[in-house]
């Protein structure tokens, strides 16, 4: 093969997305767009108490309402989610007791949603109040009571300490301690969760449409809970309006809908309203990190001690607890891009009478990055050093890879210092510092904040489950076009384009001749879905390997038919030809026709058809992207309001499949990070009532809040096929810490140092006024 033949045409290019047309024309089909005649609509009665015993549920008035077909309580749908890993059971409809505001109590099935909501109001639920568990510290000692009588509230405890920690910590010349706190947030995908379940009387099978990130995972969970063979359940994930982790989870609504479709014998549909989303979609980021930093006078960090308290809410999700997942990720990545040799980590996760916590883009990454970047900036402030200089002192260098972290991860090569230096050049750091001093004299408080992050991606295990591989099924149709199928669960990432780019390059065809399918368990190969930034790297690797396999067959066929040697065959622009003699060639269309319908011409022993199924598992347990976010903010000290003036991202996710899509992912994560740092907070009151139940209270960033973002790419390839690293979460990992540090920097004259997110304007005013 010549170098020219290997040069990719689409991989690495800014290819316009193939999925865009239907989305732009208003023709895409999300779950609620699918209309099935005879569908019953569902409205749920949810607990309005954080903790209470259910005395009685009286559905009689609701049942009398015309148009109401059924009202279900646990007795009608006795399905219990058994969380073996956490030894806690969750009835899909509350049984005897409710444990958070928003927990499902009853389901109403009616001819339309309006009627269903009318009836839901008429279901009479009598409660007997119980004292809610709302304070994490108190919960540790089972005060005021246990959330689950059979389990202590502290359901997860983990300690990890490196052998040299005690000595390093004791001998360190300088120490400081900080308590970082992040408050509850949620992914808030714009499409709310939805499910449409329908029986097929002819086959007896059940079809479930859902807005979800992992079709096969959902199928497995439904089959298990309903005690059905997996081949009797078909899960179809149509267009999904954003996921961000919350749609990777199994929710009790899906079990109820699936059960109802079978028992009522009709299609049933539920579309969450926004209030239900805020009440009961996976919450995230509810954690406290008590951090101690040991360092020396040069700024070298010698050891970190971190005690993490995580709030899991009332139940873990099936197989995954957000509190455990976040604390694990945050502490696994506690040393970030720095060569900090010794750590001591303790994690305590508790149940509470708040909504369950689960994954949100970046999981514990944003918290971990905020903690290590806060530590670095605190050290800089303590020593009177520049924050960039402290980072230079501590960075893992190019000579250190593969680098084993004190928490057991093994980093593949990255561009830690290089990315920071590039960002500093882009913002003209020295000049900024001089300008900053001028502004301060004028009473303008402008700060710069950095967040250098390492993003683990494409894990062997993640919230997508223990599936360290992905499958690609690639078929060249008899006319030479290609249909590929994946077990991924894209929610806007553009896999129909990126996977097509990779396959098209292997086969020398136009990207528009590749159709990528996903989401239907009847046609997609088994896969883990999308989460943990795994699709580009693992799915992309599968796409390349499958393309290679198909390519090899085409080359073999062409060599036989053209009477040339395989080494001389190239696939170019839809043709297989002899290199250097383009006239000696065949179109792929002709090859495909022969492969299916003129098989007498195939080489001896070759099986007919052009279809491959390839599974790909990357060589490493994870591959680590890295980068830096650098934010410039101005704080109005009179109002406490923060404006982001400039934003720079230097990102290294290995080889890029489509830079345009990568930049889109980065922009979106930065926006979410600005929300995390400045706007978004799910607040509970002292009774355990969620008070942020609408988007008027849970504030999402708008076009006014997100500045223009400057993005540059570095490319340190991974060892995975194609050299890709995952990058879907890094942008949200880097952003909150960058904003926090920028606000700290702006307010340095007042001694303010940010350790709690989101940053509330009233707090800024208070700190400035009191010099706290």
């Amino acid at each position: 093969m010549t170098a020219e033949m290997l040069k990719p045409k689409f991989t690495g290019a800014r290819v316009s997305r193939l999925e865009d047309a239907r989305l732009l024309r208003g023709q895409a089909r999300y779950v609620d767009d699918i209309a099935v005649p005879g569908t019953l609509e569902v409205a749920f009665v949810r607990s309005n108490r954080a903790a209470a015993r259910i005395v009685s549920i009286d559905p009689s008035a609701a049942l009398r309402l015309p148009g109401v077909r059924a009202v279900w309580t646990f007795a009608d749908c006795p399905i219990t989610i058994k969380n073996r890993g956490f030894q806690v059971e969750q009835p899909v409809l509350a049984k005897d007791e409710v444990r958070f505001v928003g927990e499902l109590v009853a389901a109403v099935f009616a001819e339309d949603r309006y009627t269903a909501e009318d009836a839901a109001e008429l279901v009479q639920v009598k409660y007997e109040a119980l004292p809610p568990v709302l304070d994490t510290r108190a919960a540790l000692t089972d005060a005021p009571r246990r959330v689950h009588a059979e389990r202590p509230n502290r359901f997860y405890h983990k300690v990890h300490e490196t052998d040299g920690f005690q000595q390093a910590f004791a001998n360190a010349p300088r120490k400081l301690s900080l308590t970082f706190r992040t408050n509850r947030q949620t992914g808030a995908a714009l499409e709310t969760r939805a499910c449409l379940a329908m029986p097929d009387p002819a086959s007896g099978r059940l079809t479930v449409y859902a807005t979800h990130q992992s079709p096969h995972n959902l199928r497995a969970q439904l089959a298990r809970l309903l005690d059905l063979p997996e081949n009797q359940v078909r899960v179809v994930v149509p267009e999904v309006g954003g996921g961000f982790g919350i749609k990777a989870m199994f929710y009790p609504e899906y079990a109820i809908l699936a059960d109802a479709a079978r028992k009522l014998g009709r299609p049933v549909k539920w579309v969450s309203d926004r209030t239900e989303c805020l009440l009961a979609d996976a919450h995230a980021r509810d954690a406290v990190h008590e951090l101690e930093v040991a360092f020396d006078e040069t700024g070298r960090i010698l050891a970190l001690r971190d005690h993490v308290y995580g709030d899991a809410g009332a139940y873990p999700f099936l197989g995954y607890s957000g509190a455990v997942g976040e604390a694990g990720w945050a502490t696994d990545m506690l040393t970030g891009p720095y060569k900090i040799p010794e750590v001591s980590i303790e994690i305590d996760c508790v149940f509470s009478n708040r909504a369950p916590t689960g994954p949100y883009r970046g999981v514990g990454g944003p918290i971990g990055a905020q903690v290590h970047e806060g530590a670095v900036d605190a050290v800089a402030r303590a020593l009177g050093m520049d924050p960039a200089e402290v980072r230079r002192v501590n960075f893992i260098g190019p000579q250190d890879f593969p680098y084993e972290t004190p928490t057991g991860g093994v980093y593949d090569p990255g561009s830690y210092r290089e990315s920071m230096e590039r960002a500093l050049a882009l913002v003209d750091y020295e000049r900024f510092r001089r300008q900053q001093a001028e502004w301060r004299k004028q009473g303008r408080y402008v700060g710069v904040g950095m967040c250098c992050f390492v993003e683990p991606s494409a894990f062997a295990e993640s919230e997508a489950g223990s599936i360290p591989y992905e499958a690609a099924s690639v078929r060249m149709e008899p006319n030479g076009t290609v249909t590929a199928s994946f077990g991924l669960g894209p929610t806007g990432q553009g896999h129909e384009t990126t996977m097509a780019q990779l396959i098209a390059d292997q086969l020398g065809i136009d990207v528009r001749d590749v159709v990528v399918l996903h989401g239907d368990t009847d046609s997609a190969p088994f896969g883990g879905g999308t989460g943990g930034s795994r699709s580009g790297t693992i799915g992309g690797g599968a796409a390349i390997r499958a393309g290679q396999t198909l390519r090899a067959k085409l080359v073999k066929m062409a060599a036989h038919l053209l009477e040339a040697s395989e080494e001389d065959i190239e696939l170019v622009e839809g043709r297989a030809q002899v290199a250097g003699v383009p006239a000696r060639g065949l179109t792929l269309r002709e090859l495909a026709r022969i492969a299916y319908t003129d098989i007498g011409r195939l080489p001896e022993g070759m099986t007919p058809g052009l279809e491959v199924l390839v599974r790909y598992q990357p060589p490493l347990a994870a591959t680590y992207s890295n980068g830096i976010h650098l934010a410039v903010v101005e704080v109005d000290i009179r109002t406490g309001l923060v404006r982001v003036l400039d934003y720079i991202v230097v990102n290294d996710c290995g080889r890029l499949i489509n830079p345009m899509i990568v930049e889109g992912q980065i922009h979106g994560g930065v926006a979410q990070g600005i929300g995390s740092a400045l706007l978004e907070e799910l607040r509970y009151d002292g009774d355990g009532q969620l008070v942020t139940t609408s988007l008027m209270d849970y504030l999402l960033p708008t076009s006014h809040d997100v500045p223009r973002i400057r993005v540059e790419h570095l490319e340190t390839p991974s060892a995975s096929e194609g050299g890709f690293k995952g990058m879907g979460e890094g942008s949200l990992i880097g952003a909150p810490g960058a904003i926090a540090n920028a606000v700290s920097d702006a307010l340095a004259p007042f001694g303010v140092f940010i350790t709690e997110l989101p940053i509330r304007p009233q707090d800024i005013v208070h700190w400035v006024q009191t010099g706290a």
């Binding site: 309006g241 979106g668 926006a671 988007l695």
Partner: protein, 161 residues
């Protein structure tokens, strides 16, 4: 109860076509567009008037279809994303959205398009600040807005040339 729920027959003019539909007065325009007329391009993200996904044009002006009852739309011209879409291919604004990667999951996209289309009709030469102001009532959770703003500015440039 049954008295107030009686359906009424209304005539709706949507995307230039007349429709006769029986609706309850309480049915939101967004629901009637989507579930009675099958125009599912208009999306519903909050029913609180905040997210902007359900934005449609009423007599040419962007308004929230979740904050309007379908009965109120009688006698007015409603335009949805489907009405801004050519029979084949993409409108110049839609093409700019594709070229600039102004959409990811696509859920906010119809509301963005409808709003931006109205902006460009009213102000064919907007500044970036004016584009951001016009779109500030439309939440996008995926893109961070930058490529959407770029797309609208590019469509404006192309419209002028």
């Amino acid at each position: 109860m049954s008295e107030v729920q009686t359906k009424v027959r209304i005539r709706l003019r949507v995307n230039g076509a007349e429709h006769e539909v029986d609706v309850e007065p309480r049915w939101l325009l967004s629901d009637v567009l989507r579930h009675q007329l099958g125009l599912t391009g208009t999306h519903v993200g909050c029913e609180q008037g905040v997210c902007g996904a359900c934005t449609v044009l009423v007599d040419g002006r962007p308004e929230r279809s979740c904050l309007m009852f379908a009965v109120q739309a009688e006698g007015h011209e409603v335009t949805t994303v489907e009405g801004l879409t050519p029979a084949e291919g993409l409108s110049p604004l839609q093409a700019a959205f594709q070229a600039h990667h102004a959409l990811q999951c696509g859920f906010c996209t119809p509301g963005m398009l409808v709003t931006a289309e109205a902006l460009l009709r009213e102000n064919p030469n907007p500044t970036e600040e004016q584009v951001r102001e016009a779109l500030s009532g439309n939440v996008c959770r995926c893109t961070g807005y930058q490529f959407i703003v770029d797309a609208v500015l590019a469509a404006a440039r192309e419209g002028r040339s």
